[in-house]
Every structure is written in C-alpha cells, then in structure tokens.
C-alpha cells in the first residue's frame, strides 16, 4: 500500500529517456493498441543495430520500458530482437502485473521491428 508505484529505474528512465527520438527513414515499427501508441525506429548495419529510438504515448512504465529496450539492444544483433520478452523487462523494472498488456504491446513492436530488419537483410 505504501510502496512507490514506480521503481527507481522506472523513474530514472522516465525522467531521462536518452533513446527518445525518431530515426526517420530507417527500419520502423508502429503500433496503436491497448491505449498505447508506439513507434520504434532503428538503424542497422550488417544485421547489427547501430541505433534504436522510440516514441511512445502511454504510462510511465511503458515509457521506461521503451527506454530500457532501446538502450539494451543498441549494438546487438537484430535477430536478438525476436527473443525480446516482456516478462524480463517487467522484472527488471518492477512493473506491476496489471500493466502486462501494455508491455506486451512493446514486445509486439520490438519483435516486429526485428522481423522487418531481418527480412530486409535477406540478400
């Protein structure tokens, strides 16, 4: 009852979303679902993600999760995006269970972005 609904990480990511932004004509995933609107854009080279940005309309947990996801995948292989799991990020950020559906929207967006990069990389 007396707990802060936002963990320290959520507060930190919400206050300083370093990966907020839009990379324009790079690979993108747009989702509007469950009262959440999301756009992820990525720049990639040889299957590796060079830059990852988000725009989001949603609650603080969603925004923080976007930031965490973007920060986490920069520099990694694009196909790793396909393994993104909402539960993991929820655990890391202490997102309450009643927000699961919203974070699943992010999961959809991340995986869809991963697929679009991998598909476009097919020679």
């Amino acid at each position: 009852m007396s707990a802060d609904p936002y963990s320290a990480r959520v507060r930190e990511y919400f206050a300083n979303p370093a990966h907020a932004g839009d990379l324009g004509d790079a690979a993108a995933a747009d989702i509007d679902d469950q009262g959440v609107r999301l756009r992820l854009t990525a720049r990639h080279e040889d299957g590796r993600i060079v830059a990852l940005r988000f725009r989001a309309w949603g609650c603080p947990h969603l925004i923080a999760a976007c930031e965490a996801a973007c920060a986490g995948y920069e520099g990694r292989e694009a196909d790793e995006l396909l393994d993104f799991r909402a539960v993991e990020i929820m655990r890391n950020l202490s997102v309450p269970v009643e927000k699961t559906t919203r974070i699943l929207v992010l999961e959809d967006a991340v995986r869809s972005l991963g697929r679009s990069i991998c598909d476009s990389s097919v020679p």
Partner: protein, 387 residues
C-alpha cells in the same frame, strides 16, 4: 509539512490548523473522561462537547441539537441516505441523485437498490451544473429522498441547493446535501436553506481526519434510522464513546472557518486566476466544470492527447490529483468527468489542482510552468502520427 513537495491537493485533505491541534491537546489534558459518565470529570468533557457543538452550529446557523457526530462525511452520507430512506420507506421507494456525486453517495444508492429502492440518476449539464428543471422532471409521487452535493469534489462546481431544496420541500422529499467540500469554505446558512440532512467532515477544512457530523433538520418528517447500535449515545442515532478531543477540534475548526471564509475565497480566487492564466494557452487545454460557477479552490483541466498517468509523474514534485482522491487508485478515467461528457481520453488526462490557505502565488506559478513543460515534453515523446 510535505517538505520538498508542492501540495496542491487541498480538496483531498487539508493540514490541521495549529490552533486546532492545540485545542485538541488542551481538551485531552483537561480531562480524559468518557462523556457518558455522570461524575464531575464526565460533566467536564460534556461541557467541552457542548462548546464545540455551539461553534459548529454557529458556522451553519443551526441549533446545536441538530448535529450528530460521526467519523466523517462517508459515515454521514451513509447515515443520511440509508438511514433516511429506511426511515421513510412507507413514503415511497424512489430516490434520486446525480451521476457526479461522490462514491460515498453513489455506493449507498447502489446498496439501497438491492433492498428494492428505485434509483434515478439525474444528469448535469456539460459544465457540471444541475438544471433545477431537469431535477424536478425526475421526481415522482413516490420520490422520498434526494441527494445532491454542494461543491463537487472534482470540479468545484456549486449546485443551486436553494432551488433544488425548495422543489423537494414542496413535494415532501427529504433532501440530503453532501457538503464535505463546502462547509467552512463557502457560506452556508441552514436557517435559510431548505436542506433536511447535510454531511460534513473536519479534514476538508483544516480540521482532523476521523471526525464529521450530520445535520438533521428539526422537522418531524426528517429523521434517520441508525446504522450502528450500542450504548444509547446521541439519542440512539449514532452510538459509541464520543471522541471529545476530535469534537473539540472540529468545533475550533468551524470557529476559525467562520471568521475567514471571505478572506479564504478571495485568496483562492487570486490563486486560481494566476494558475489558469499560466496554463490556458497550452494547446488543447480545457476546464472541467465551470470557472464562473465554481468554488475557486479547485481548477480541474484536461488536455488533448496527453496520457494522464505520465502527466501526473511528469508534474512531480507537484502533489495533484487525477479525478478524486478516493478513486485515484483505480486507473479508470473519472466517472464524474465521463458524466460531463468528456471522452475517456480527455477524462484520463484530467488534473485537479486544489489550493488552500497555505498556498502561495509562487507555488501556483511554479505549478503552471511545470504543467506547460510536462505537456510539451510528453507530446515530444509521443509518436508524431498521434498529433
């Protein structure tokens, strides 16, 4: 008091006036007796209670004997509505209230529905004001009780209690008024108003939490059945050891309020103007309620295309409310704002700023700036397509 935070949630609760603290402590130190005791110490505490009843009666311009002490407005509302309706069950089973009432009213109505009462919810206009003609049209032969709040806790809108009460009195309908947000803040003269039952609570006007009262007009048709049973305190309407120190505190709270309502209103009016002027230019911002017809301590605004929960967090260190405090746990959009015709999305972006005696113009200027910045930042964060 709430160091480092900027408290702008005086409609949720107010700080206890230091004089009220002192008065409660003095009462406690004068005697610890149980007011039901007949010995000399008991009589001492009875005198303290009688004095407090006089102070509260003075604020409302009523006979002290019309006041029943309760644990707060929730209990007063329950006692008035459930107790009042049951007392007059022979008169009819139709009861009327408004969609924008507090849960302590609407939930009691829903409970009465299960007992076979027939409910009508009248609808206010989009500014939150109830048109007396709409109210009147909802009344029937068998209407026996109506409950309409004085000052709305989310929007600050003030209903025309005089007109509504007059309609009730002509039709022998018990008229209950939830005045939790009004007592001690706007002038209420119950000698002149056609009100039968009126609920109030100390913590909304600089008194302690856990004490309230129900005014029961001294008219034969006007009475309530008790909800609690026990030692015959308070003419069997509400049992339990009277919390003398809290009652002394409520009395002092009332006396202080009586002396400064006009000053408080002027102060709040100035603050609200500063605040509104500071945010009215934000694109897509709208007032919920009615600036002209509302209590100046409250400014409730929605804004297009900003998510409410993120807005609230971005506003820190401001302590403000979305919807009413009592519903702030539920993440649903306020049912009160929905009843005013706001879309879900606008309703969930609502922020209630509520100001109080300690609020300064620097605080509301800061709040306005913070609001502008937060809206801008969140809009920047949102996908462009959404704009």
């Amino acid at each position: 008091m709430d160091a480092e935070l900027i408290y702008l949630d005086y409609a949720a609760s107010t700080p206890v006036d230091p004089r009220v603290h002192d008065c409660m402590r003095e009462s406690a130190e004068a005697t610890c007796a149980n007011p039901s005791s007949t010995h000399a110490a008991g009589r001492r505490v009875q005198a303290i209670i009688a004095n407090a009843a006089g102070q509260l009666a003075g604020l409302l311009n009523v006979d002290p004997a019309t006041l029943v002490w309760t644990s707060g407005a929730t209990e007063s509302d329950n006692l008035a509505i459930a107790g009042g309706a049951r007392f007059r069950a022979h008169r009819g089973k139709h009861i009327v209230s408004m969609k924008t009432e507090h849960k302590a009213v609407t939930d009691v109505f829903e409970t009465l529905a299960k007992e076979g009462y027939d409910l009508t919810w009248v609808e206010p206009g989009s500014n939150g004001l109830l048109d007396p003609a709409v109210f009147q049209a909802a009344l029937r032969e068998d209407t026996q009780l109506a409950s309409i709040m004085y000052v709305n806790n989310e929007t600050g809108v003030i209903q025309d209690i005089d007109a509504l009460g007059t309609i009730c009195r002509e039709r022998d309908i018990q008229f209950h008024v939830d005045a939790a947000q009004a007592v001690g803040k706007v002038h209420i003269d119950l000698a002149a108003l056609p009100v039968d039952l009126l609920s109030l609570t100390a913590h909304k006007f600089y008194g302690p939490k856990g004490i309230g009262a129900l005014y029961i007009a001294d008219r034969p048709a006007c009475h309530v059945e008790p909800l609690l049973f026990g030692g015959g305190q308070q003419r069997r309407i509400r049992p339990g050891t009277l919390p003398a120190d809290l009652i002394a505190g409520l009395g002092m709270t009332a006396e202080i309020a009586a002396s400064r309502i006009d000053d408080d209103l002027a102060h709040l009016g100035t603050l609200r103007e500063i605040l509104w002027n500071g945010i009215r230019e934000v694109p897509g911002v709208l007032v919920n309620g009615d600036l002209a017809g509302g209590f100046p301590g409250i400014l409730n605004v929605s804004v297009e295309d900003v998510e409410g929960e993120s807005l609230l967090l971005a506003l820190e260190p401001l302590c403000v409310a979305t919807g009413s405090a009592c519903n702030s746990r539920a993440q649903e959009p306020s049912y009160v704002l929905r009843a005013l015709g706001r879309s879900d999305s606008l309703a969930q972006s609502a922020i209630r700023f509520s100001m109080g005696r300690p609020t300064t113009s620097a605080e509301v200027e800061f709040a306005a700036r913070r609001y502008r910045d937060a809206v801008a930042r969140l809009r920047e964060l949102a996908p462009v397509a959404a704009a």
